[in-house]
């Protein structure tokens, strides 16, 4: 992926954009997982959320 992308004259790092996109994806995903009861099976919910966020960021960055 290109390290930085040009948006209206600003050079924005693409990693930042992937993190933003991953965070936006996490918001409904967390609610869905909560509804399905996944958090009752998980040992440490915040750690699980962080791991999921990192995986989503890595996935989106690889796609870009």
């Amino acid at each position: 992926m290109t390290a930085e992308v040009d948006i209206a004259g600003l050079l924005v790092p693409t990693l930042l954009l992937s993190m933003l996109a991953a965070w936006l994806l996490m918001l409904p995903l967390r609610r869905l997982l909560g509804r399905l009861g996944a958090y009752r099976l998980v040992w440490h919910p915040p750690l699980f959320n962080l791991a999921l966020f990192v995986m989503l960021t890595a996935g989106l960055a690889a796609l870009w």
Binding site: P46, L47, L50
Partner: protein, 368 residues
């Protein structure tokens, strides 16, 4: 007699306080105010373990952000490091600081449009100090009003930090969009990292915290029973009362959870006061000291076991030792200290074994 008098005094104090509060007056009534001030002189309950733990969480968060700052070479990483340090420490006294930090994060984000407006449009147009003051007045006066009210104070403070911080970051007068964006991103990154690390490493539940407070109380009771000299008046009561004040909201939050359901922290306070009374009377009663010494050992072992393993009913052997101490004291010559020690022993028996029947014949026999 002394106990009855003390009960009446406390009852009168409660009625005074009740009337005072019902009349809507601020502060405490004069007599209670001096009492409260004298009480506040000695230290309250200190939890060094949790303080160390909060500090460790802050260290982890700062190391993470500084590593990111150094590895990416991002100049605005400095603002992120500063924010993470501030926000890890800000709410450190709470059991779960994460919701407080999240509130701050949300309102820092909400302050970004206002800060951008000020920095990029209003400030360049202000050419004198008066114009600057007039331009800043509406928002800061409004925020000041909201900071003054307790229910909106946290949110208004976040907005003020956001706007004020953005304005002061550019005292050289360079108000361009890229540097604003960089510093805002750094702020947000710092607060978000503080929240994530706090949730991962530091947040503890109310039940865990309640158990920790109870164990600290029991450890102090064991220490009180193990002493060879009389304790100084006032110190134990202060710490125990502080613990009770800290425990009540946590126990209310846990609800009826298993082993915490039947906890009565005020009972522990009563036990401690009785033990302190007995310890004070001990040097002046030579005859029955062996029974009392055995009782103190039993109490010390019981509370040490509680502090280590958790709540458990007191062993029946302890009841026998209390009865032996009472019977032993009954043979001593009557004196003021003996009466106080007997009252304390009776209180102790009542607190530890509220349902145990009293074998009066045993005590009367020894006394005769």
């Amino acid at each position: 007699m002394h106990r009855l008098r003390a009960t009446l005094d406390v009852h009168q104090d409660c009625r005074d306080l009740h009337d005072h509060v019902a009349a809507g007056r601020h502060g405490l009534p004069a007599r209670l105010d001096t009492l409260a001030r004298r009480r506040s002189d000695t230290p309250f309950h200190i939890d060094r373990g949790m303080a160390l733990w909060s500090g460790a969480a802050a260290v982890v968060a700062i190391l993470l952000v500084c590593a990111f700052w150094i590895l990416t070479g991002w100049p605005s990483g400095a603002a992120a490091a500063m924010m993470v340090a501030v926000f890890c420490s800000f709410f450190a006294t709470m059991d779960d600081p994460a919701p407080g930090i999240r509130l701050f994060l949300v309102f820092t984000l909400l302050s970004v449009p206002a800060a951008a407006l000020y920095l990029l449009l209003v400030l360049p147009a202000a050419t004198s100090f008066e114009m600057l003051a007039v331009a800043m007045a509406p928002s800061f006066l409004l925020l000041g009003v909201y900071i003054g009210r307790p229910e909106t104070m946290g949110r208004a403070m976040a907005l003020t930090f956001g706007i004020g911080g953005a304005l002061s970051l550019h005292d050289i007068g360079s108000a361009d969009f890229p540097s604003f964006l960089n510093s805002t991103l750094a702020q947000i990154m710092g607060v978000a990292t503080a929240m994530v690390v706090t949730q991962l490493v530091r947040s503890v539940g109310a039940a865990w915290s309640a158990r920790r407070l109870l164990r600290a109380g029991w450890a102090e009771l064991a220490e009180l029973a193990a002493r060879t000299r009389a304790p100084e008046p006032g110190r134990f009561e202060n710490r125990m009362l502080d613990r009770i004040g800290l425990l009540s909201p946590r126990l209310a939050l846990c609800g009826p959870l298993g082993d915490l359901a039947a906890i009565d922290a005020v009972n522990d306070l009563r036990i401690g006061l009785n033990i302190a009374d007995i310890q004070r009377a001990r040097p002046l009663l030579d005859g029955s000291d062996r029974c009392i010494a055995r009782l103190m050992e039993g109490l010390r072992d019981h509370f040490r076991a509680l502090a280590r393993l958790g709540a458990a009913p007191p062993p029946p052997a302890l009841l026998e030792r209390i009865d032996a101490a009472i019977a032993g004291l009954a043979t001593a010559p009557p004196a003021a200290q003996r009466e106080r020690a007997l009252a304390a022993l009776a209180g102790l028996r009542r607190s530890l074994f509220p349902d145990a029947p009293i074998d009066r014949s045993l005590v009367l026999e020894r006394a005769a």
